[in-house]
Symmetry: C3
Subunit: 223 residues, 3 copies
Amino acid sequence: MTTSRLFSPDLQQTLDLIGIFVFALSGGLLAVRKNLDIFGIAVLAEATALGGGLLRDLIIGAVPPAAFQNRGYFFTPLVATAVVFFLHPEVARINNAVQFLDALGLGLFCVTGTAKAHDYGLSSVAAVALGVVTAAGGGVVRDLLVSEVPSLLRWDRSLYAVPALVGSILTAVLITVHDFDAVTGTTAALVAFTVRMLALRYEWRAPRAWHRGSSSSGEEESG
Amino acid sequence: MTTSRLFSPDLQQTLDLIGIFVFALSGGLLAVRKNLDIFGIAVLAEATALGGGLLRDLIIGAVPPAAFQNRGYFFTPLVATAVVFFLHPEVARINNAVQFLDALGLGLFCVTGTAKAHDYGLSSVAAVALGVVTAAGGGVVRDLLVSEVPSLLRWDRSLYAVPALVGSILTAVLITVHDFDAVTGTTAALVAFTVRMLALRYEWRAPRAWHRGSSSSGEEESG
Amino acid sequence: MTTSRLFSPDLQQTLDLIGIFVFALSGGLLAVRKNLDIFGIAVLAEATALGGGLLRDLIIGAVPPAAFQNRGYFFTPLVATAVVFFLHPEVARINNAVQFLDALGLGLFCVTGTAKAHDYGLSSVAAVALGVVTAAGGGVVRDLLVSEVPSLLRWDRSLYAVPALVGSILTAVLITVHDFDAVTGTTAALVAFTVRMLALRYEWRAPRAWHRGSSSSGEEESG
């Protein structure tokens, strides 16, 4: 039943909090770049860290969502807020480390998100979609809150949805063949992590539509 | 009880999928104009096609939402994504046909959305509001995802909310007088469709506030 | 159990409707400044007035949300829409009165929002967060719908989240020590109201991150 617990509750909680902390850092850094005040930093940190899981929980009917039941989930982004508030140049300088940890969070959350959706009785296809929502939804909420087109959707950013999709599909397959446990689940998370790191390293991008420019070139230039 | 099924399940499903497909096309075309990559196209196609019904289902407590329970609902926007990806100049060229089908989807979804909300015990007023949300909500989500003021709200676009409102009110009246069946429901959908087509043909627009410019002219010009 | 009812149902309902009306005015005025048509005004009025409570109800699982169960909640923003449509220069001119009433709505909603979340079994921390969401969420939805960075998050606006936070924390403390009633609840709302009025009067602002400009000055100027 509770296949979403890959590990002992303590280890699972620790991993969740690391992922939440790093996602919150990315939200807080964007808030600083957008010149928001400390409450704006806190809201973006919370929304980035918890937005994806919140959407998933609303959709599968797990209310109140985990974000509102677990104190650590709520306070961890506030710690990240304080770190960004006082140390944001230092945090921005270790951007590579932040992206490394962000990729770890991505890997972890697409696996646990898919597994939780499956636990609530959703089909494999829906569980995969919700795994991607869990891993990538917070970043979409973050960008929308500062009126930017979500970087997830943009052509000129490295792949983010694809690694989450790979990890989610692997997880759904493992669950279907009854082979989902701490070892295989960790492997799925590491595969997603690796794909994301490769996408960052080699600037992998997804293709845009064919024949661009033939009928809508004017719009594209201004788009 | 199940007044939301106007037709045989097969016919209902076919009509739903046509509406979803066309809404997905409109999302995909906007994504191409905004220069998004193939995943951006897919996300906008899914969000436009399923966003309105998803909001409705979250509000009435129908979780998991239909969008996550019906495989066809999920895969149809992906087919639309492929069509837009390879053939978007051709799709953009038949814009009139897309708008025709979009108006059909609008008519269908305001009727089925109102009926489903009623099935879940909401009052007529709330059911009408949710009929409009079902028909028009996906387009709002679509525009927000690319940082545009929703065309639904804009003065310089043809009426979209009014046709949905007309269809939803007709449906609520029909349900109240116990006269809602395949024939009258189809009629309500066709009325909404017709109002939308007339609004497109004659560029019907809604009025803006009176006395604009007297106290806030500066803001208006820049708005 | 029903600690969220501070007063007799009639008085509570009257206060709620006043708060909803004033929040709807602020939404409608922004819609006029953005040159939206009458439906845009109505949508922004509804979303601003009911958005915060709607988010709270979805998160605590109170579906259908109060916004869709109480006719007065739905029609009051439409009255505000009519007022803004015909009289917006006059409404804009009495901006001080609108901000006064908005501060009253802020005070009321952070208290009732916190209390309702507590009634549904959420922890004090989560209840405080949802009190802030109830009071401030509608304004965030309002700004997002017209593609603006929410004024709640912006450095150059007077404090809004802090007064809501003060009122919500006071309420949670009162509930915890079993001292929450009409008198103490009203006091908490008035404290939040007073903090907001002082913030407006003296243009209190929250600090931005330390060391801005050292590592990301280019982005800041354009942000």
